[in-house]
């Protein structure tokens, strides 16, 4: 199924993207002495990325057809 493979590809991309956004050098871009909504910019950035990862996972999982419950007899769909 192309659809499923696309969604799985999206999940992989989201995971890698999350990793890249959480480690230097990207994370360093937002680590400046600026406050945003009363808190340091970097704190806001990390929690925003975190939230986006959660929302992204919800959206992608919605489009992923569930595995059949029968466990012992199935292959990858």
């Amino acid at each position: 199924m192309t659809d499923r493979r696309r969604v799985v590809g999206g999940m992989f991309m989201l995971t890698v993207l999350g990793l890249v956004l959480f480690v230097p050098p990207v994370v360093g871009l937002f680590n400046r002495d600026v406050t945003f909504l009363g808190m340091p910019q970097i704190v806001f950035y990390l929690f925003t990325v975190w939230l986006l990862l959660i929302v992204g996972t919800v959206a992608l999982t919605r489009h992923l057809p569930p595995d059949p419950v029968e466990r012992e007899e199935e292959g990858e769909g």
Binding site: T15, F22, P24, N31, L37, G38, M39, I54, V69
Partner: protein
């Protein structure tokens, strides 16, 4: 107002509540009404056992001391769960299929069901987790002390009891509690529904408690902005400038490893998973839970730093902030939250570890010395296992307690947890290799884990004891025997690094290096290969690998005996009855098949681990690996089958050919039969015509009157002619049958064939003139001698020429005659420009009774001429055939061997 006694009483009551929850959870599970227990929400909440008192207290302290670093502990697991489809789903599927009970079981099962690897992993896990247990004991102790210290009622019954005594009390209570909870029975799949229910409840409590404290702090501080501006006024800076160094990446990697490999995380995420689809929810819900847990940590830490005295322990801010604000109820709630996170971790971790210890250390010992006591209830192994697990729980908590005892002077919580993470991270390379890389081998994995563990012990565990042992601190300064490059915190001269990053870098990179290189250099055993394929291709292949065993080497009785010892009488009997029912035989007559033995082994593995199950069954079932002889035999059988099938193919091809020939012959016979019928009616007709005229003329002659002599004479001559025709027809038939039966013989002697041909042409001359035809002569041979009879040869030529004349209906009919001698053969060709002979008729023209289809009726022949001619020529060792001639019509060729040549 809070007193220490009240807090302790509350804790005990809370534990009682948990016990009731667990009890009813188990009851529900047994009654199979697991509606809410078997939901993704409970599953997700049970995973949040990851958030221990390290999160509750330690993260606040960590945020206060080192800024953002605490976040990596949650960001790493977030990434793992966002990518749940790739690692966790695979782990869950494999574990369901192979009845995996722990990390040690997974690794030992994958690498050839090796019990040694299981022992190694178990030992490392037990030692590595000790600091983590100590952390929980320390957190609970500190929190009780914090409450007691702030209480105006004094220390109550705690008077005279120091940290150590308190911690010992907590550890003992926890051990008792865990034993009551987790080791009441040995489950088939090591799922503990009651415990999971209690853990899920605790997850809700700790989240609610931390959120309550957070909201309270934000309210107190006047919003987030207020908290930060107050802090700035007091000169407290939430420093993030140096957050993103090597330590950031190290803790991120360690937390990724921890969420997969920590025994309790593996237990709740993989082993307790009852439905793969629960991961779909946990994939986003668990990161969301962690985010909710950490969102208030920075405000609590910053506000605590701002308002609390400088000597206050930042780890306890979540508790001391409400206390100092006089909010006792909230403080009690916070205490229960912290207590929840500590107890849930200790319970699950010690259950998970005790399963590993009993399955991988105790069980092999029991098997080896065969000392399984046989209770009358048939629960021998089960009871041994339970005792082993209880013993293991006490052992694990004691280790934690002793670590606490040695390191109680260190005040921060988080670094202790990271020591455990680094130890557990040593399993990650092996685990990933186990499920993704088929070539990973047992030897390499064993070596990699051992070396990684040794480096961890040297560079991470040992330095944490520096404060209690002067020997260790000298070692840190100078290295062993003064070898500087072996200093635990500056190995190979790598100085100036953060100790944690240093230890993690060396242990993990050398671990990976040995694993990879070792796997490339060693070759795995047959069982390893089978397991590797089963694990790595879990989504690609259907079914499970089957064991080879010598048929008849084990009886159902032997197997039942083994199953009964491990599973108990009831379950063993149920298993065997189910198998017998499937096969439709009486349970007493059940013949063990490889499939059944595989199933039995998996059931046993669910109770005692894969390697122990393998060892147990191997004792009663002969066989195992495929021997060389078996392979040869299999190859031989295959060869035989191939040969046999080739022979069959050949035979069937022959049969097909024969059938085809028969069909052709049959068709020819049918054709001839119909020709014969036609001929017979033709002959009858031919015979009837002269017979009729003979009869009528003779009747006229018998009439005495009215005939003159002239008429009489004419009638008599007509009768004579008709009789002659009849005689000739009958002669031809007789002649042919005589020729065919070889009765009519003549002496073959050299005759002049050209002479015979000339004679034939001149005989036919009259016929030709009558038709107004002429003979075209082609090339002519000179006098040529052939073996034969001159008259018979002439007869053949006459027959051919007269046929060419008779059947020729062209406007200007021509007969072409040529003769020649080619390479010792005399060749005569008689061709005409008539209608020719149709393709279908070519085969039949030499048959008896055949007459040309078109105009056959007019020509009056009996259809025997060509058949007779062919017989004659065959007698002279020659050939008469139909060929493509120079004219459009038919062309007959006669070939006869030449005996002598006269030029």
């Amino acid at each position: 107002m809070l007193s220490a006694d009240f807090v302790i009483a509350t804790s005990v009551a809370y534990v009682g509540l948990l016990f009731v929850l667990a009890y009813f959870g188990d009851r529900r599970a047994k009654a199979n009404k697991r509606s809410w227990l078997n939901s993704p929400a409970v599953y997700t909440l049970s995973i949040s056992v990851y958030c221990t008192s390290w999160t509750f207290y330690g993260a606040v302290g960590n945020a206060a001391r080192s800024g953002l670093e605490f976040l990596t502990i949650y960001l790493g697991p977030t990434l793992v769960f966002v990518g749940w489809y790739f690692v966790l789903r695979r782990l869950v599927r494999i574990s369901h299929l192979h009845r995996i009970t722990s990390v040690a079981d997974l690794l030992s099962s994958r690498f050839g069901k090796s019990s040694r690897l299981g022992v190694l992993v178990t030992c490392i896990a037990v030692i590595g987790i000790a600091p983590y247990i100590a952390l929980q004991l320390k957190a609970v102790t500190s929190s009780i002390q914090a409450v007691a210290g702030a209480s105006e009622f004094g220390r109550g019954s705690l008077t005279g009891i120091d940290d150590v005594g308190l911690a010992l009390g907590v550890a003992a209570a926890m051990a008792l509690f865990t034993i009551l909870f987790g080791t009441r029975h040995v489950d088939a799949k090591e799922q503990h529904h009651g415990v999971v229910a209690a853990i899920a409840f605790e997850a809700v409590v700790k989240l609610a408690a931390l959120v309550a404290v957070g909201v309270f702090v934000i309210y107190l501080g006047g919003g987030i902005e207020g908290i930060f501006s107050q802090a700035a006024e007091k000169g407290v800076v939430f420093d993030t400038s140096a957050s993103f160094d090597s330590r950031w990446i190290t803790t991120l990697v360690l937390s990724i490893a921890a969420i997969i490999c920590l025994p309790r995380q593996f237990q709740v995420t993989v082993v307790e998973n009852s439905n793969e689809n629960h991961l779909r929810v946990a994939g986003w819900a668990f990161p969301a839970y962690m985010m909710l847990m950490s969102i208030f940590i920075i405000p609590i830490a910053v506000y605590g730093l701002t308002v609390m005295p400088d000597d206050a322990n930042p780890d306890m801010f979540a508790l001391t902030l409400p206390l100092s604000a006089g909010q006792n109820a909230l403080a009690l709630f916070a205490f229960i939250g912290g207590f929840s996170s500590a107890t849930s971790m200790i319970i699950l971790e010690s259950i998970a570890l005790s399963i590993m210890v009993s399955n991988h250390i105790m069980m092999p010992l029991v098997l080896k010395f065969g000392a399984a006591p046989q209770g009358g209830d048939g629960q021998g192994v089960s009871s041994v296992l339970l005792v082993a697990r209880r013993f293991a729980i006490v052992l694990i908590l004691s280790l934690g307690f002793f670590y606490f005892l040695f390191t109680r002077d260190s005040d921060a919580l988080a670094p202790i947890g990271l020591i455990s993470f680094t130890a557990i991270a040593q399993f990650l390379p092996a685990l990933l290799a186990a499920i993704f890389w088929k070539d990973a081998s047992l030897k390499a994995v064993t070596a990699a884990i051992s070396v990684g563990f040794v480096i961890w012990a040297w560079s991470c565990f040992l330095p944490s004891l520096a404060s209690v042992s002067p020997l260790v601190s000298t070692l840190l300064e100078e290295g062993p025997w003064g070898v500087l490059w072996l200093r635990p915190e500056a190995m190979f001269g790598l100085e100036g690094w953060d100790p944690l990053a240093h230890a993690a870098f060396w242990s993990l990179s050398i671990n990976v290096l040995i694993l990879t290189l070792g796997s490339l250099l060693t070759s795995p055993s047959a069982l390893e290969r089978i397991q590797a394929t089963a694990f790595v291709d879990v989504f690609r292949r259907h079914g499970l690998p089957q064991r080879n065993f010598v048929p008849g080497s084990a009886t159902a009785n032997d197997l039942y005996f083994v199953a009964e010892r491990v599973l108990g009488e009831k379950r063993a009997a149920a298993l065997f009855e189910a198998a017998a029912r499937e096969r439709g035989v009486d349970p007493a007559l059940l013949e063990p098949t490889p499939a059944f033995i595989g199933r039995l082994e998996r059931e046993l593995a669910g109770s005692i681990g894969a390697s122990s199950a393998h060892v147990m069954l191997s004792k009663v079932v002969a066989g195992g690996d495929v021997s060389l002889e078996e392979m040869m035999q299999m190859a031989d059988e295959t060869q035989q089958v191939i040969e046999y099938s080739q022979q069959l193919e050949k035979t069937s091809a022959e049969l097909r050919l024969t059938a085809h020939k028969l069909e052709e012959a049959n068709a020819q016979l049918r054709e001839l039969d119909s020709q014969k019928d036609e001929f017979l009616s033709q002959v009858s007709h031919e015979v009837r015509t002269p017979m009729t005229s003979i009869r009528s003329f003779s009747e006229i002659l018998l009439e005495p009157a009215g005939l003159n002599e002239g008429q009489r004479q004419r009638f008599i001559s007509t009768i004579h002619q008709e009789s002659m025709r009849l005689t000739k027809l009958l002669d031809e038939i007789l002649d042919l049958s005589a020729l065919e039966r070889g009765e009519r013989t003549w002496q073959n002697e050299p005759v002049d064939a050209e002479d015979a041909l000339n004679r034939a042409v001149s005989v036919c001359d009259a016929l030709l003139r009558q038709r107004g035809m002429r003979v075209e002569f082609g090339e002519r041979a000179h006098t040529t001698m052939v073996e034969g009879d001159a008259d018979r040869l002439c007869q053949v030529f006459i027959n051919l020429i007269s046929n060419a004349v008779k059947y020729n209906d062209a406007d200007q009919p021509v007969v072409h005659v040529s003769s020649s001698v080619r390479s010792g053969t005399y060749v005569v060709e008689v061709a005409d420009n008539g209608p020719g002979i149709g393709k279908t008729e070519r085969k039949l023209i030499f048959e008896k009774f055949w007459r040309g289809v078109s105009g056959a009726g007019d020509q009056g022949g009996a259809g025997l001429g060509l058949a007779i001619s062919r017989q004659i020529i065959a007698r002279m060792n020659g050939v008469l055939e139909l060929v493509q001639g120079p004219l459009p019509g038919a062309c007959f060729r006669v070939r006869l061997p030449v005996v002598g040549r006269e030029s």
